[in-house]
Symmetry: C2
Subunit: 207 residues, 2 copies
Amino acid sequence: MSEPFESKPMKVEFWFEFASTYSYPAAMRIEALAASRGVAVAWRSFLLAPIFQQQGWNNSPFNIYPVKGQYMWRDLERICDRLDIPLRRPTKFPRNGLLAARVVCSHADEPWIPDFVRGIYSVNFAEDAEISDPTVISRCLTSLGQDAAAILATAETPASKDKLKAQTAEAMERGLFGAPSFLVGGELFWGNDRLEEALDWAVRAAR
Amino acid sequence: MSEPFESKPMKVEFWFEFASTYSYPAAMRIEALAASRGVAVAWRSFLLAPIFQQQGWNNSPFNIYPVKGQYMWRDLERICDRLDIPLRRPTKFPRNGLLAARVVCSHADEPWIPDFVRGIYSVNFAEDAEISDPTVISRCLTSLGQDAAAILATAETPASKDKLKAQTAEAMERGLFGAPSFLVGGELFWGNDRLEEALDWAVRAAR
């Protein structure tokens, strides 16, 4: 029997950047974990570079602070081991996820987006291939039965470029400073470590 | 029946800095969690300032990057709520934990150290009082039945000062860049979020 006044969980916004290492396990996990709690997920791509630039960084902080970077790779290895997610340390880091982020931003509500996002993350962190290469992105779209040429053409329009810029500006305005981030209404959770907590928050906040 | 070749878990080194916010819940939790797994804990105080200075920071990164600081205080609030640990946001941050760190460093193997560490963290993060004040530290020691005057005198000797300097240098050499950190042999875990993982590692690594 259901509670008479039981209401639906809040939506969780999943904010990710394709270059972000800790976004990789979050992207691989979120759909199943959210579904198990009845939580809807909004997939929101954004760019970290403009946010990092505001903090005075012109590169990933994991490259600027090598001792932190060294730890991150080991930590990510342990995380992926535990979750049984394949990981091959990218020979290039960070990779440029701009085009892939535009694809997501301009097609965010399409049902193939979660598979596409996981596909691009796998290219970067499991296959060590170049996610900025349009042929790689095309192949990913085609494998999902999508019209790659049409989608890439849409992604390159001024409207699509503006949409990703606006979404990145929104991320900054709402206090995001890294990825992955999860927003449940105004409540911010940062990091793959906070995924479960964000989902639980969405369930509790509705009651 | 015990396994014929079962061996003891490895020791976990708990590296903490009294100014560090996320070290507070870790300090409050570690003893009971470690005991429940049969893991021994080495309590190792160190200073973050020299490590942050090497990264070009002359203040807490939570003050240098306010958007990150704002998030941290909210995140810490949620963590303490969930763990039922009292939190009053310090009106001064970061506070200077030098003297308290020297007390720990020069008496690290004394049985009262875990209580003393928790006491100082509570002063900073639950009572919002000044942990650099010798009378506050004395009161904490006295409440544990210790000879506060003798302990503070020892803490201020050149040998004690050198010991904390050497311990901080050791932290840097072993790749520490923040607090709390946990070392299990050469395996580094960073952050209150990694406490359980570090303890589990210590248990598994022994088998």
